[in-house]
Symmetry: C2
Subunit: 100 residues, 2 copies
């Protein structure tokens, strides 16, 4: 469902998680937690991050694999392509006029 995708992207913390997974794939929950607090000064609990990851996984943006007691998270950018495919049907080869 497209609704899950857009709702998943609507939160800034989730977008930062995607940034981190884009920079280093296969991170665990605790690794993501520490990166969010270290690099981004986000005071956020482990459960909050876990819930964010569940939302991202439901949207298809994050895929997980279990190994022992570790759960690794990988970024999947495939769902992002349908965003531009919806309204950017007229594929522009150059920049458009920007009447701002």
């Amino acid at each position: 469902m497209a609704d899950d995708l857009f709702k998943a992207l609507a939160d800034s913390t989730r977008r930062t998680i995607l940034d981190e997974l884009a920079e280093k794939s296969g991170q665990t929950l605790f690794e993501i937690c520490s990166r969010l607090s270290m690099k981004h000064q986000l005071g956020i609990s482990r459960q909050a991050v876990s819930q964010h990851l569940a939302v991202l996984e439901a949207a298809g943006l994050v895929e997980t694999r279990r190994e022992g007691r570790y759960k690794f998270h990988d970024l999947n950018t495939a769902p992002l392509r349908q965003i531009t495919a919806r309204w950017l049907v007229r594929d522009t080869s150059g920049p458009e006029e920007n009447s701002s």
Copy 2:
């Protein structure tokens, strides 16, 4: 701010409005209202659509021009490009921490 863009896209009614503006640009508020109820069976008030359009305009996805008592709405897809540009990068330069 990028937050406005993602939050604007998070609502399905607003995405449908973008679909309608992509199909026919320069629609008025009432024209959008009637299309939403006719084509999409959305029982929604005029004020609700007006508020949605304000959100879309704040996100830069819709631009408006006034002529007399009419206000025409046009789709601007330019902000959409930065969405995929954020995570669909090929190189491994890594994203900077942007607290959007």
